[in-house]
Amino acid sequence: MQTYIIRRLVLSIPTLLFISFAIFMLLQLAPGDPMSQVPLTVPPEVKEKMREALGLGEPIMVQYYKWMVQFFWIEPQVLIDHWFGTSFAEGKQRVISWQTRSPVMDIVVQRIPQTLWVVGLSYVVGILIALPIGIYSAYRQYSVFDQSGTFITMIGFSIPPFFTGPLLIVIFSVQLGWFPSIYDTTHVVTDWASFKVQFMQMIMPVMVLALQTTAQLSRYMRSSMLDNLGQDYVRTARAKGLREGVVVMQHVLRNSMIPVITVIALGVPAIFGGAIITENVFKVNGIGQLLLTALFASDIPMVMTLTFIFAILIVFFNLIADVLYGVLDPRIRYD
């Protein structure tokens, strides 16, 4: 197992390098000009100087090399400085956003809590709803609960978040006035009343995202449970007189969780990247919204860094999913 993990980690380095190069070359083709917001009265030679100050005058390969140095060498140093109070990165050039002229990673770190709170929580809620639904509808296959559960998950699977979001806003904030339609990220939880406000404003975005997660996961859970319920070991367990609860919740569930856990692990990167639409609908200023504004402002360092962070997460969680599969299922041998 260890050699497998090491091999996968080593293999992921060229993958990530290639991805970063592909994203970089794609962004080089961008027609957007970071100088487009500069007033027209600024003479062209000054603009040229400003472009060079942003590092745009260099050849593409030099730009790519410098970005790599900044991202892989200097940014970790900044992190170490931050943790241990050292000063490795003192005076070194970091990845700078063209919009705000401040380091990209600082902005990302500011935005991550919002995304994690809303999207991460919705993932947890989705899992907590999906697993019981999947288990029960597999156990009572073709029952009314199973039929309606399958129908509802199919609907949740099909309705896009940019429709459920506005729909919930129309129903619950406009007509009923229960929840606020905009997520206020400046809100600070200090006491019970402010916690209630925070809770109220989180319900809708969390539910919109949780619907998607629930729909996918409960389908997986159901089919995985169905695969296992027909196996011989289930009959054996029943025949030796185990109680039904023990058979289903211990024998079948533990075996059915193997593929489901890998699916859950594979979905984690989407927490960071996939919520762009929901963040946009509810005006949550998280990572997805940051990427969108950076794109429209042709802030290439920001877009580059964000997409690359998403890529790292995807590669990393793919690895985790594969390793988990091997750990949970002793029949799988990687060596």
């Binding site: 993958t15 290639f18 994203i23 099909s158 896009p160 429709f163 877009v303 997409t307």
Partner: protein
């Protein structure tokens, strides 16, 4: 032991089949007929496709016609409970803030959305099936093609879609015109980013099929690899391709709408379902129907396609068929 066989010659006679052999597709259809969801889904998909194809000939109102005198009208059914609402038979589903007819816009938008969906799905299938067949059949290509597939699978898709659309909008608009350029762009970016699952499934099936005797027989009589693929392998992987086609159509429609919703889709005077929905969000308190109608159309179409895919998967699986 020999008592049971009365006439040894009769056992050697060729038995005439009592009825002509049933083709696989009749069996599939028989199974699919019993899947209610698939029938409804398929029916709705055909209905929507016909409606957007022939709708403009029946309901001949121009979707982009600005009619400022009749702006902000409500759908005709609002008059049932709200007698003060501005309704009229000339605009059955109301009109937007510029007086453009919503029914006509929905039909035109459906045309765009369905066209993008079908085209992107076909593109993704062609790429996916091509990569899958080549890497399943040719051992030399397998390693690199599958590494490439894994690589594309680990790209962050939606961010990259957004990047690609904002980047290539300008040059393609100049080449194909604002609508044509956007159509080519959206179809190709969706197609280029959603072929990986098909490729993996097709590769797996080809790998198993190519070890079978009929391929060996075909090769032994000197059939060229191209002929083997076209005559013997492709017809056998049609079922997984069809199932991924339904999934691909659903994802393509949703992705196109999502891009339009985020404001990077088609130009503003070119209606698609996602764009109609996005434009109406600002004023959804006064005119909820402008959000709800395109949203329902998107959702129902995708729901129908998904149900059809579910039914097809069951019907095409010979282990389940007949139960």
């Amino acid at each position: 032991m020999t008592d049971q066989v009365t006439d040894p010659l009769a056992a050697l006679q060729d038995k005439e089949p009592s009825k002509p052999p049933r083709s696989q597709w009749i069996d599939v259809w028989d199974q699919l007929k019993h899947h209610k969801g698939a029938m409804f889904g398929g029916g709705f998909l055909i209905f929507i496709t016909l409606a957007v194809l022939f709708g403009p000939y029946i309901y001949t109102v121009d979707a982009t016609q600005i009619d400022i005198r009749n702006k902000d009208m409500r759908p005709i059914y609002v008059g049932l409970w709200d007698s003060s609402a501005k309704v009229g038979w000339n605009k059955p589903l109301g009109s937007d803030q510029l007086g453009r007819d919503i029914l006509a816009q929905l039909i035109a938008g459906g045309r765009a959305s369905m066209a993008v969906g079908w085209a992107a799905m076909v593109l993704a299938l062609v790429i996916g099936a091509g990569v899958g067949v080549v890497s399943g059949y040719f051992k030399k290509a397998d390693f690199w093609l599958m590494r490439f597939t894994d690589l594309v699978l680990s790209l962050p898709i939606l961010p990259l879609l957004l990047v690609a659309v904002t980047l290539f909008r300008q040059p393609l608009n100049e080449a194909f015109g604002p609508e044509g350029g956007m159509f080519v762009l959206i179809v190709s970016v969706i197609g280029l980013t959603s072929w990986m699952q098909t490729a993996r499934i097709v590769r797996g099936d080809i790998l198993a099929l190519k070890e079978r005797e009929f391929i060996l027989a075909a090769r032994s009589i000197g059939t060229t690899p191209g002929k083997i693929i076209a005559r013997h392998l492709l017809p056998n992987v049609v079922s997984p391709i069809m199932v991924s086609a339904t999934l691909g159509l659903a994802t393509a429609i949703i992705t196109e709408s999502a891009l339009s919703f985020l404001g990077v889709g088609f130009p503003s005077d070119f209606p698609t379902w996602g764009k109609l929905l996005a434009d109406a969000v600002q004023r959804m308190e006064q005119y909820p129907e402008r959000v709800v109608l395109p949203g329902i159309l998107i959702s129902l179409t995708v729901l129908g396609v998904n149900y059809l895919g579910d039914g097809l998967r069951d019907a095409l699986d010979p282990r389940i068929r007949g139960r």
